[in-house]
Subunit: 420 residues, 2 copies
């Protein structure tokens, strides 16, 4: 019986082309963040389970995590998201580090859910956070950073919109409404699903939670309640400021809730404007109380995450997915296996000068070796035999164009570098 | 009750300096491998447990893996090593890819063991493999690649030695010895520990496994058995060839066994010559049968892995660990919070030209902001207030030297780029 070659259910294998694409995502994101002064941190995907039991939103902990007990009877979770880890690490060294922290992390996250389009059991995320700065400028920067990341991928502001809402406004609206407090959380969950159900269904289910006429959404619209009016104005000012600062594609979305319980202020999601791609690209918000789970210091924070699967779908939709080249510069073919040692030696000279050289190690015929180079998308071939070993000349052959050029060995690096 | 800020037992947090060091390891290794034409692949750390039950060496599967059952009753293992994954992936697409594969992967591996120096429950490894080329040139290349990686870190050949042995020789020696076949594996395990126990202890335990006088080691020394003599000569030739090709620090180590069951030919380890660092730095070998677990095609392969913990210990021992700088180029201080929007705007101009700029977002006094820049090791500070916003000039202040320079805003990028 042979073993199955498939990966574990719901996770992906990254063959070189896939990995190169992933690395391209990461390096593009890293470049933007570095310019804003963000530094990369990381942690193990293994976390103590209690980290997610506190403030992460119940659905995730109970149904959607990989949680198991280790042999030392410790409850371990494969991290479903990075924010609790960030909060833990920032709290741990809060006395030793200069705040604010501009931090980011890129890595895999795990969710135990039924695999479907855009949702996998393992996916990659870049998490970007600004810890230790109050609302206002920090929130504006974070959203602008998100915009700049998409811009770095070539995405103009017409390709996505930034939906913004405020948790403080939502809370005030719930309090000003005829929904009793015990139903506030149920209402938030319902609101989160508003765009996925019919208007009638939403209305009916809202009524079930109420004991009067004023819904949170109508409380926001009329703004008769003083706190609601204040929070509404604050949000409007925030959106106006973003526009003034050149982020034009911001819209207020009263139904935006975000799943996690820890948000306390501005929340936002970046949405593809193409209706065929309806998932949130980026999501984030302000979470001013998360660090207080670990220490008595209150440290305000804001951040967002972007996932590789939704990013790829978005870039594909808008024809922005680049074809990453990962082929070596030169394929060294050898007429016979006896030529391999000398070919490797010459290849090492080229490598020392910075070229990437793939040397044949088989006893296959030259013809087959050239076919092999073709399959690898390597254009430049050098056949390295007796004459080339003893002499000072080699022939560069471009197998795509058929062009051949005899040259001194010493000139190979320059010639190939020019043609790149 | 506050939550604990420590990470899960036996794993590490990577604060920005630690992460930068890890990334430096990875990029140095990647550079060398790219020059040899190796491409990066990857897979999820979640693997079906059966992958490790077959041929990985029993200790690892039974005692040293994180294995759990998921809600779909699948047995899942957090990968303890990459080679079985590589074999699975190579076998899966063996019809679609040009062989040989020169592949590498960098990522985390998990072992459930008692944390101790150099051994953690999660560590990073770079795995380098050449799949689809027979013994000989491929083995020589792989060892040379290992040498070049250490060279790229600045390590000369006097800082480590390359211990080489052959599994075929060991097998032939066992067969030529007076150890009955049922005890061969026990003998290999004993041999593996030879350097950790006393000579008498080793001799005593060897005797227990034997029913005669000839030990495998004496069979190798006398080389009276024909197969042993052939294998011994082959290994000697291999070592001599490595030396001819410029890898001078190779030694034959008859006690080298390597833990994994899948090795079939040459095996090797790179050892620090400093006696204070006694663990293997790199380890690898030839495994010609592993892919046949997945398919009927027999595909020969050779490879090695290098771990981040042992690499760091080695570089530290030889004073080769570089101090990686991760600080932004400029700190923008603001006399008042009202200046922040304009400071961000000017910062964005600098960022577009490639600089990394950290903008103050607090209402702290200038003095405190400068202290903050110092703590971040940012040398260059620009105070951006009213005058700077309205005018065309700014002052660059090097807070390490105290030097100040008033300059046009347009010249800032050039001036700072020069000083880098």
């Amino acid at each position: 019986m042979k073993l199955d070659t498939d990966p574990y259910k719901g996770v992906r294998d990254f063959y070189p082309k896939d990995k190169a694409q992933l690395m391209h995502f990461f390096s593009t994101i890293t470049d933007v963040l570095t310019k804003y002064g963000y530094s990369q941190y990381d942690a193990s995907p293994l976390e103590r389970a209690e980290l997610y039991e506190a403030k992460t939103g119940e659905e995730i902990v109970n149904e959607q995590t990989y949680t198991f007990t280790d042999r030392g009877d410790r409850k371990v979770t494969l991290r479903p998201e990075m924010t609790p880890t960030l909060a833990r690490m920032a709290a741990k060294k809060r006395r030793d580090m200069p705040f604010p922290l501009r931090w980011f992390s890129i890595g895999n996250r795990f969710r135990y859910e039924r695999p479907q389009k855009g949702r996998l059991r393992e996916f990659y995320q870049a998490d970007v956070d600004l810890v230790g700065a109050p609302e206002g400028e920090a929130d504006l920067e974070i959203i602008r950073v998100g915009r700049d990341i998409l811009r770095a991928f070539g995405a103009g502001e017409e390709t996505y919109s930034i939906r913004v809402n405020s948790r403080t406004l939502l809370t005030a609206a719930c309090e000003a409404s005829d929904i009793p407090e015990k139903n506030h959380q149920a209402y938030m969950k319902l609101l989160d699903k508003k765009n996925k159900i019919s208007g009638e269904d939403f209305e009916f289910k809202t009524k079930e939670l109420m004991n009067g006429e004023i819904t949170p959404l109508s409380a926001i619209e009329t703004a008769k309640d003083k706190t609601v009016a204040e929070e509404k104005e604050k949000l409007q000012t925030f959106i106006a400021t973003l526009k003034e600062r050149g982020v034009s594609n911001v819209v207020y979305d009263p139904t935006l809730v975000r799943g996690f319980d820890y948000y306390t202020g501005i929340i936002f999601e970046f949405f593809d404007t193409d209706p065929s791609n309806t998932r949130s690209l980026f999501g984030g918000g302000r979470y001013d109380n998360l660090l207080s789970l670990f220490s008595n210091d209150s440290i305000p924070a804001v951040g967002f995450a972007v996932g590789d699967v939704t990013l790829k779908d978005f870039l594909e939709t808008h024809d922005l997915l680049p074809d990453i080249k990962i082929n070596p510069n030169v394929y060294m073919a050898t007429p016979s296996v006896e030529n391999i040692p000398a070919a490797q030696e010459f290849a090492n000279n080229l490598r020392e000068e910075g070229l990437s050289v793939f040397v044949n190690l088989t006893d296959k015929k030259l013809e087959k070796q050239i076919k092999n180079a073709e399959k690898r998308n390597i254009e430049m071939v050098i056949v390295y035999g007796e004459d080339e070993t003893k002499g000072s000349m080699v022939t560069l052959k471009n197998i795509r164009t058929g062009q051949e050029l005899e040259t001194k060995k010493d000139n190979v690096v320059d010639l190939i570098s020019e043609s790149l």
